[in-house]
């Protein structure tokens, strides 16, 4: 197991490097001289000497690769730089924005599991029945549903017409747990639907495959109840690929957060990214994008490790994780 673990971690390093170089490069080619932003507004006539001093202070006069190494070294020590707009440390701006996104993300993830796995199992157990069709049509619709449609309908019906839940905003669970739940329910559900659709399809197809295996026939032949066959023998094996999907989809949850946090006015990481893009605050954009990609890389690593743990064939190298 430990050999497998080390191998997986080592394989992750080049991916993280590529991502960091990419994030760094993108921010360097952003239009507009960051020095002018730091110095204040571009229109004011600042003497070139002052600009040079600022450029020097921020290390922007050094070769690009030196800047990259300095940047990485700083990040490794937790220094994410300062906002180009107001000079506040990026970490201070970013930290309070993490909780809303994480809370809603975890809720969405759980909702997707609660909807997707039962729906997929029911569909797989009775193929071509009305339940199967309903599940598959639901999954197709869920996958194609834009966040604005579901979010808009929810806000209009649940918040504005029925007045059951507040339409927008965010309250920390540490301040008022009930209010926090009430405000995060709609964004979480909006975010969950697409993931639930993917989970439904994946659980259906992988469980269907497992149900065709000989050991299932054996289980049935020895007279086990169908319930035992499905839940005791097929379920665990059938759910393995679902683990992978849920890990891979973490990135899409972040992408979705950009939209849902805009719709529901949640002060989270996704909203921060949009604000920073419009403010041309490259230090924040850089930090957010890097953070998101690292989260995705770590999630994929965790999935790989979990997979190796659940399926010994993989960690012993006798099977391939993905086709």
């Amino acid at each position: 197991m430990s050999v497998y673990l080390v191998r997986r971690i080592v394989a992750t390093i080049p991916i993280a490097l590529v991502t960091s170089v990419f994030v760094f490069a993108v921010m360097r080619i952003l239009p507009g001289d960051p020095v002018l932003l730091i110095a204040g507004e571009a229109q004011s006539d600042i003497s070139p000497a002052v600009l040079d001093r600022i450029r020097h202070e921020h290390g922007l006069d050094r070769p690009v690769y030196v800047q990259y190494v300095t940047w990485i070294r700083k990040i490794a020590t937790g220094d994410l730089g300062r906002s180009v707009r107001n000079g506040q440390p990026v970490a201070d701006i970013l930290l309070p924005r993490l909780l809303p996104t994480a809370q809603i993300g975890v809720m969405a993830w759980l909702l997707a599991l609660l909807i997707g796995i039962p729906a997929g199992v029911v569909a797989a157990v009775s193929p071509n029945s009305w339940k199967d069709w309903l599940g598959m049509i639901g999954a197709l619709a869920g996958a194609a549903m834009p966040y604005f449609l579901l979010g808009g309908v929810l806000i209009y019906v649940v918040a504005l017409q029925l007045r059951w839940l507040p339409a927008s905003g965010y309250v920390s669970p540490f301040v008022d747990p009930l209010q926090s739940l009430r405000r995060s329910l709609m964004p979480a559900f909006t975010l969950a639907l697409g993931l639930a659709a993917v989970t439904t399809r994946q659980s259906r197809s992988s469980l269907t495959e497992v149900l065709g295996q000989l050991y299932i026939t054996t289980a049935r032949a020895k007279g086990l109840r169908e319930r035992r066959v499905i839940l005791g023998h097929a379920f665990k094996n059938g759910m393995l690929p679902v683990v992978t999907i849920l890990g891979i989809q973490l990135g899409n949850l972040f992408g979705g957060a950009v939209i849902t946090e805009t719709i529901f006015a949640v002060p989270g990481t996704g909203r921060l990214l949009v604000e920073a893009i419009f403010a041309r605050d490259y230090a924040i954009v850089q930090a957010v994008v890097l953070l998101i990609s690292l989260a995705v890389i770590v999630a994929n690593l965790a999935v790989d490790v979990a997979y190796g743990y659940l399926d010994p064939r993989i960690r012993l190298g006798r099977g391939r994780r993905r086709p």
Binding site: P14, P146, L149, V153, I155, V258, L273, P323
Partner: protein, 290 residues
């Protein structure tokens, strides 16, 4: 009864069978119909739209759906139906151009890298993995932020985001096709590498790319509308579904149709391409049939 003739006939028979199988699957028909409807609406938009898409009439702002304006009017009194119809042109255009661009880069990349293998394959695939570790929408956002807002830049951003998918898919296909005896035979016969790649490996690897292409148009449409929704897509007054949703949200309470109409259009368009893609996968790959 010479070879090429018989082969052509067998191919035609295979095609007929495939088409019949294609039509038997209801989902494909539904998907194809939705996509066809979508294309038709976009092409005929100037004829179908009851009003010019940008004609403002402040006296008739935020009218509910009725006989004069079937889907109501927006905050500037513009006819929502007309704007939806013209918006479909942009969505389809972005979807198709972005996918074509992504395939144009990703397909040859995956083909060459998968066939050549070795160090090149290793390096390119690590870059692809790195790009894929960024959520597509976040990456598209960042690229659009760098390039500046606008339809063309949105297309480029969506294409860049999609390239890794096609490159990886193509590479995987090539790796398995390469092992076939008929490729070995062609190599032994001394064919030049480009000929092997484009005449023999490519046609046998293309099916998943076609399927992914259809799904990719759906992805591109939803991503473009997301970018427009955030304010990084087409500039006003150009009618796009995403920007209509963006403005509409400000009037959700008094004019829900303003958000719903474009959001439903996005849904139907994406659904159409997704269903078509799924159906194509089933129709093209008999091993996946239930």
């Amino acid at each position: 009864m010479t070879g090429p003739d018989a082969a052509a006939r067998a191919w035609r028979r295979g095609l007929r069978q495939r088409l019949r199988r294609f039509a038997r699957r209801r989902l494909v028909v539904v998907g194809a119909a939705l996509v066809a409807l979508e294309v038709l609406l976009a092409v005929l938009a100037p004829g179908l739209a009851p009003y010019p898409p940008n004609a403002q009439n402040f006296m008739r702002a935020l009218q509910p759906p009725g006989t004069a304006h079937w889907l109501g009017t927006d905050d500037l009194g513009r006819d929502i139906l007309s704007r939806l119809l013209f918006g479909s042109r942009i969505s389809l255009q972005v979807g198709m151009v972005a996918v074509l661009l992504a395939v144009a880069v990703g397909l040859p990349l995956g083909l060459v890298v998968g066939y050549v293998g070795g160090r090149l394959d290793e390096v390119v695939m690590r870059i692809v993995d790195g790009l894929m570790s960024l959520p597509p929408l976040v990456l598209a956002l960042t690229i659009t932020a760098v390039l500046g807002s606008g339809i063309q830049n949105a297309m480029i951003a969506i294409a860049v985001v999609s390239i890794p998918t096609y490159a990886r898919l193509m590479r995987g296909q090539v790796l398995s096709v390469r092992e076939n005896d008929y490729i070995g035979a062609i190599v032994a016969a001394g064919a030049a590498t480009p000929r092997i790649l484009f005449r023999h490996v490519l046609p046998n690897s293309i099916q998943p790319i076609i399927v992914q292409g259809s799904l990719g148009v759906g992805f591109a449409i939803i991503t473009e509308s997301s970018l427009s929704f955030i304010g990084l897509g087409a500039r006003p007054p150009t009618a796009t579904w995403g920007s209509m949703v963006q403005v509409g949200f400000q009037y959700l309470e008094i004019a829900p149709w303003f958000v719903l109409a474009p959001a439903v259009m996005i849904f139907i368009a994406v659904l159409g391409f997704n269903v078509l893609g799924d159906g194509l996968r089933d129709a093209l790959d008999p091993s996946l049939r239930r």
